[in-house]
């Protein structure tokens, strides 16, 4: 059994990449194919900014210094530029207590600080956390804020106050607040002999934990003016209000901060004068939350600006609290009864032809009727289904006024449902760097749109789509809001390669620009064409041919190729010509137009 002294030792823990899960409320997130954070169903994207770095508390996170920040209604995400899949983290806004903006000074960039909610996090985690990994913490929380390198805390100098006689009793040494439950034996109060409720003892034990840094650091902070011994993490003296020197920083084994000197010079910002103790740090000045709070704040550092807009939108998002809407129940679909939990509606029977279309239209109308009826019957149900009602109303409005291009909040909400919400507005003022960000985001969005399996755009076009078609389809999907100019599409697709996205742009000999999957190369296309042509040698043709089809096969026109592979005619022509360039095909100009054959001319004439 470790000695008491040993149990007091606070092992210094660096907030580096390994201990992410435990030391702060950042957590890994999933990315889409275009390396953007994949949004939850109700989440909307509010802002994007690149050239962002992450700080944990005061320390720079070594691998997280150049990336993009995505602000959504539920989270603030960071996606690294070099290793996007490995280093993508996010902070849930519901865990954020408040947010502060540091406007930057000399060499230090502007920063936005996220301060986690202390009390709820800790209490919940302490109560629920197992010895090491807090898998039992509620799903909505992040990992346990307690560092796994900590021994289960033993507060031997904690005291609990008896609720009857207010005598302060010591908490027993073997009392572990983490695993205490009803069966733990509790000693009665020494004065009045009444056993305390478990809650009090646990609270007291936790309170005792918060006193531990005192033992860990040098000594209590002595006020220079009135010599009162303050708690070491205070910044102003409790008695006279003088500002306290933070205790001398222990050797900072973490990455040296460029801006540390600049930061410490701005004494007004109390966050920057946090004591450099490697132990658990108190995130805010408010230590009336006496619970030990080993979590630290997280800072986003904006190297090229954008912090103002980020901060504004972040505050908006925090006040709106869209994550709470997740709890509202879905509106009942047409096939279930009113008030029941929505079941999965059975897929509508596939109708064919006009009858099917009519049937589908009727079902849609019935559903709408049901929804509207239910919503207006019950006002509460209306509040819950407010979002869906808005969406419905919007579609009706668009039908009746197709020329209405005014962008309302609802339109953008609808738009964001389709994940097509990259607009210039979202990215701050229009200067060259913002333009760049706009193009980058647009290209990512295009990549997502193309590889979206639900829509299957690329698949539908046979894996290759011309830029003109892409422009048309993309703008149509945007629904007439914030259309993208052809120049932007061309520039954005040009960046596919640079951003290592799964699609790429390709220029044909004649200048036609297309977009295709990265894995599709010319060789593969040529092989596919030749393979198809070879088939003609096997299968007897329908109409009798005047030449020996067994030897030569048949010629194909661009039209036939387009039908076969699902390409558009322009693309088919280009691909055939490309194969001809490589010598796999040769052309024949006849009465019926241009046909392409397998190239037998190149075969050596050893007849």
């Amino acid at each position: 059994m470790p000695s008491l002294a040993q149990s007091f030792v606070v092992s210094p823990v660096r907030c580096d990449v390994r201990s992410h899960d435990d030391c702060m409320f950042l957590r890994q997130i999933d990315l889409t194919t275009a390396l953007r954070p994949s949004l939850l169903p109700d989440e909307t994207l509010l802002f994007v900014q690149d050239a962002v770095g992450l700080y944990a508390g005061k320390f720079k996170l070594p691998d997280y210094q150049s990336g993009q920040a995505y602000l959504t209604s539920h989270r603030a995400c960071y996606v690294d530029n070099e290793e996007p899949r490995k280093r993508a983290v996010a902070i849930d806004l519901k865990d954020v207590d408040r947010v502060e903006l540091y406007a930057g000074f000399l060499k230090s960039s502007p920063k936005v600080t996220f301060l986690p909610k202390a009390s709820r996090l800790n209490l919940a985690s302490v109560r629920h956390s197992g010895p090491i990994a807090a898998s039992s913490s509620p799903a909505s929380r992040t990992g346990s804020p307690l560092r796994p390198s900590f021994e289960p805390p033993r507060a031997s100098n904690a005291t609990w106050i008896c609720p009857i006689c207010s005598f302060s009793n010591p908490v027993p040494p073997n009392f572990d607040p983490a695993i205490a439950n009803e069966t733990t034996p509790l000693p009665p109060c020494q004065a009045c002999g009444i056993k305390p409720p478990l809650v009090n003892v646990i609270k007291a034990a936790i309170a005792g934990l918060s006193n531990r840094p005192q033992n860990g650091s040098a000594k209590a902070n002595v006020c220079p003016r009135c010599t009162f011994e303050n708690h070491p993490s205070l910044h102003t003296c409790e008695v006279c209000g003088a500002s306290l020197q933070s205790s001398a920083p222990a050797s900072s084994g973490s990455t040296p901060l460029q801006s540390s000197s600049a930061q410490s010079s701005s004494a007004r910002n109390s966050l920057d004068q946090r004591p450099d103790s490697p132990g658990p740090q108190v995130a805010s000045q408010d230590i009336s939350a006496t619970l030990a709070n080993p979590t630290e704040s997280v800072k986003f550092s904006f190297r090229v600006g954008g912090e103002k807009t980020f901060h504004d939108r972040l505050k908006q998002a925090l006040t709106q609290r869209k994550w709470l809407l997740q709890a509202t129940p879905k509106y009942p679909s047409g096939s279930t009864e009113h008030g029941q939990n929505p079941q999965q509606a059975p897929p509508p029977p596939r109708g064919i032809g006009i009858a099917g279309l009519e049937r589908r239209g009727m079902e849609l109308r019935k559903n709408n009727e049901l929804v509207i009826g239910n919503a207006f019957e019950d006002l509460e149900a209306l509040m819950a289904s407010a979002k869906e009602i808005i969406a419905l109303a919007e579609t009706f409005a668009n039908q009746t006024r197709p020329d209405n291009q005014q962008e309302t909040n609802d339109a953008s909400a609808l738009l964001s449902q389709l994940n097509l919400s990259t607009t210039r507005d979202m990215l701050g003022s229009a200067n060259s760097t913002t333009n760049n960000t706009y193009l980058t985001e647009l290209s990512r969005q295009l990549a997502e749109y193309l590889t979206d399996d639900a829509r299957g755009i690329l698949r539908h076009e046979g894996g290759i789509i011309s830029l003109v078609d892409l422009w048309a389809v993309f703008n149509r999907a945007r629904g007439g809001v914030e259309l993208v100019s052809p120049a932007d599409i061309a520039a954005a697709t040009g960046m596919f390669d640079k951003l290592k996205l799964p699609v790429r742009q390709r220029r044909f000999k004649s200048g036609l620009l297309v977009v295709q999957e990265r894995s599709r190369t010319d060789e593969k296309t040529v092989a596919a064409l030749v393979g198809w042509l070879k088939d003609f040698q096997e299968i007897p043709p329908d109409a009798p041919l005047v030449w020996d089809w067994r030897v030569f096969g048949q010629g194909v026109t661009a039209q036939q190729t387009a039908e076969m592979f699902g390409w558009s005619i322009g693309v088919a022509t280009e691909e055939l010509e490309m194969a001809e360039e490589r010598g796999a095909l040769c052309r024949e100009v006849g009465m019926e137009g241009v046909k392409f054959w397998q190239n037998f001319l190149s075969v050596s004439e050893s007849q």
Partner: protein, 179 residues
């Protein structure tokens, strides 16, 4: 394999793209190569010396597959022959082409061999006789184009092997060999 008269046509003749001038450089080179050989072979066997571009040349079209060479294609192939030295354009403008499946020098050698074989040294023979006389039956000289023959003879005259002189009738010339 088809036959054109008694000439065996190559495999390719039935390949429709064969009759289209290929745009791709490599393929076109192959195509030109094949055509050149075909033309030379055909002319040699059929003893055709002159090809007129506008005329119907049976080699240039294949009625079976209903394809034929365009004017541009014909010109391209014949030009290739000319640049190789196996043909010559007659007159200004590319209308007629003289096919030399033997070079002029070769023809000269053939004439010399003919003379030796038939013991015509130091004797006189008319040009017509050389072309269609009794002795030349069975040799390559039979039915030779007059222009080619004249050129070959002139070449030999320059070398001093023979002398050309005008004969009794105005339209014929005689040749005296002096080996």
């Amino acid at each position: 394999m088809q036959n054109l008269g008694d000439f065996k046509l190559p495999h390719f003749f039935n390949y429709p793209p064969y009759f289209t001038l290929q745009p791709v450089r490599d393929t076109r080179e192959k195509q030109v190569q094949v055509w050149k050989e075909l033309i030379i072979d055909y002319c040699r066997t059929q003893k055709i010396f002159v090809i007129g571009l506008e005329e119907e040349f049976p080699l240039f079209s294949n009625p079976v597959i209903e394809r034929s060479l365009s004017h541009e294609a014909r010109e391209a192939f014949l030009s290739a022959l000319v640049s190789e030295g196996r043909a010559e354009w007659l007159g200004k403008g590319h209308r007629k082409c003289l096919i030399l499946w033997h070079h002029i020098q070769d023809w000269a050698d053939i004439i010399l061999r003919f003379v030796k074989d038939n013991g015509l040294e130091d004797s006189v023979i008319t040009v017509e006789e050389m072309r269609s006389g009794v002795e030349c039956r069975g040799t390559e000289l039979h039915g030779i184009d007059r222009a080619i023959l004249m050129r070959a003879l002139r070449l030999l005259e320059q070398k001093g092997k023979l002398a050309i002189f005008k004969g009794t009738s105005a339209d014929d010339e005689g040749v005296k060999f002096s080996m």
